[in-house]
């Protein structure tokens, strides 16, 4: 068990088995965010913050598209069960304790997006010798970089005045989401020889 991708192949590329598992998880998570952001986005924008929501829909879709093309895919039977549990974890989960249903749903989505953007650091799994010209390596670096920017929308929203009175509930839900997403990511990688918990 290693805390990073590896061993690398003769061209210093990540092995397809590890690429497949990591990419499947990321596609599932970012795909769910793209869908949920798209459903939340009105046809006609009515608030300034919705411009950010519009950008997020396309950034998440871009990540899915990028991984579909940059990954060296191989069959992975374990994915059948894993994808089902991942997709269940991404289901909309309105924040309990917020009476306004729309706000509760938006907050629930923001906690999921915050956890995915903040907690999952795929580029940090790349060993220093990983081939920078490999599309998968480049894709992971780009996703991690983009996550840092995407995160800002969730941070601003979760700290916004309209959620101040629910600060404790928001904080608890977000901490739970971070733990849950971190655990799913670690479990996904465990089966392909990567042990994040050893860090």
């Amino acid at each position: 068990m290693n805390a990073l991708f590896g061993p690398l192949d003769s061209r210093n590329c990540v092995l397809p088995r590890q690429q497949t598992r990591a990419a499947a998880f990321l596609i599932s998570a970012h795909g769910a965010l793209a869908r949920q952001f798209a459903f939340t986005l009105p046809m006609k924008l009515t608030s300034a913050w919705q411009t950010e929501l519009n950008a997020q829909v396309y950034r998440e879709a871009e990540i899915v598209s990028l991984l579909l093309r940059a990954t060296s895919w191989v069959p992975d039977l374990a994915l059948t069960c894993m994808v089902a549990s991942w997709e269940t974890a991404w289901l909309p989960s309105p924040l309990e304790g917020i009476p306004d249903r729309t706000l509760a749903t938006a907050t629930g989505l923001a906690t999921l997006a915050h956890a995915v953007h903040a907690k999952i650091r795929p580029a940090a799994l790349l060993p220093t010798e990983a081939n920078s010209n490999d599309p998968f390596v480049m894709a992971l670096r780009r996703i991690e970089f983009e996550n840092g920017r995407l995160l800002q929308a969730q941070t601003v929203f979760l700290k916004s005045p309209e959620l101040v009175s629910f600060r404790s509930a928001v904080n608890s839900a977000l901490e739970r989401r971070h733990t849950e997403i971190g655990k799913l990511w670690a479990q996904a990688l465990e089966g392909v020889g990567i042990n994040l918990r050893a860090e």
Partner: protein, 308 residues
């Protein structure tokens, strides 16, 4: 790897050196992690000190609160660590953000300390520091941890230190990039959003205090350290020659020597703060010299002091 518990959060710490010896507690700067004190641990343990290091909340292997990090919690975590050290003498030192946390600890729990060493430190957010902090935060948000490191390295370290590393900066940055997360660094920076000046409370710090400031510190220049010197009664200011903000990384042997000497002087009853201004030696083993009488230590050119 031992951990302390603060509420639902865990704080990673390490204590080395003889159990009954006087202790030094070292507090990280904002983008740092405990391993960066390794040279201090070795040097101070060799001088018969006990050394405690830890990762602040949001740093390294300590827990990283997802949305809010309160500076009061950092002081509480530090208090937990100092509580682990028993009843012997405790000297507290911290750099930059860590220096400010150390100041807050000394204000609130000063009786537990035998001495305090704030380094590259501040009690106020001056307009320059506030705007620089905002710009660094924006840099983090737009460009990630790596870009923040790119800004901090040339700002805080000398040409002499950087020159041999220019072609391997990625490896210099890698560990800091790995252990620090964007959201956690941002939360640490955001803990300044409700920052209130510590200056009105500095006079309550009664322990011997040695303030260390790099000669060329750009981020927290002399004037910010001068506030500490003027308001902390038993203090002196020591200027580290040719040093920048991150002199603890660049000059560990010299800085560890200054820390050890300070504590030894305090324990032997030799320490006299007198709000004096000193110039540290350039090399280990040299003697500090008083800042030349009649000249203004706040200027970068030799200007006669208007109030000698």
């Amino acid at each position: 790897m031992p951990f302390l518990s603060h509420g639902s959060y865990r704080i990673r710490y390490e204590v080395d050196g003889p159990a009954n010896a006087p202790a030094y507690v070292l507090v990280n700067g904002l983008t740092q992690y405990a391993e960066l004190w390794a040279a201090y641990r070795d040097a101070l343990v060799a001088r018969k000190f006990r050394v405690a290091t830890f990762d602040l909340l949001g740093q390294g292997t300590s827990d990283k609160p997802a949305l809010y990090i309160n500076q009061d919690d950092q002081v509480a975590a530090l208090n937990l660590l100092i509580g682990e050290l028993g009843d012997g003498p405790v000297f507290l030192s911290g750099i930059s953000f860590g220096g400010m946390i150390a100041l807050r600890y000394a204000i609130e729990h000063g009786k537990r300390l035998s001495g305090l060493v704030p380094m590259s430190c501040f009690a106020d957010l001056s307009p320059q520091l506030l705007l620089l902090g905002n710009a660094l935060r924006t840099g983090l948000i737009l460009g990630g941890t790596s870009y923040l490191q790119d800004l901090l390295l040339p700002m805080n370290l000398s040409d002499q230190w950087l020159m041999p590393l220019l072609d391997k900066l990625d490896s210099v940055k890698r560990q800091g990039w790995l252990v620090n997360d964007v959201y956690a660094l941002q939360n640490l920076m955001d803990s300044f959003l409700d920052f209130e000046s510590l200056t009105p409370r500095l006079s309550s710090i009664s322990v011997p205090t040695m303030i260390l400031n790099g000669e060329f510190d750009f981020l927290t220049p002399r004037a910010l350290h001068e506030t500490l010197r003027v308001h902390i009664p038993d203090s002196s200011l020591v200027i580290i020659p040719r040093a920048y903000h991150a002199f603890t990384l660049e000059k560990p042997a010299l800085t560890a020597e200054l820390l050890a000497r300070f504590a030894e002087d305090v324990l032997a009853g030799r320490w006299q703060g007198n709000k004096a201004v000193w110039i540290a030696p350039e090399e280990v083993g040299g003697e500090p010299t008083p800042f030349p009488s009649g000249y203004n230590h706040l200027r970068a050119i030799p200007v006669k002091d208007s109030n000698p």
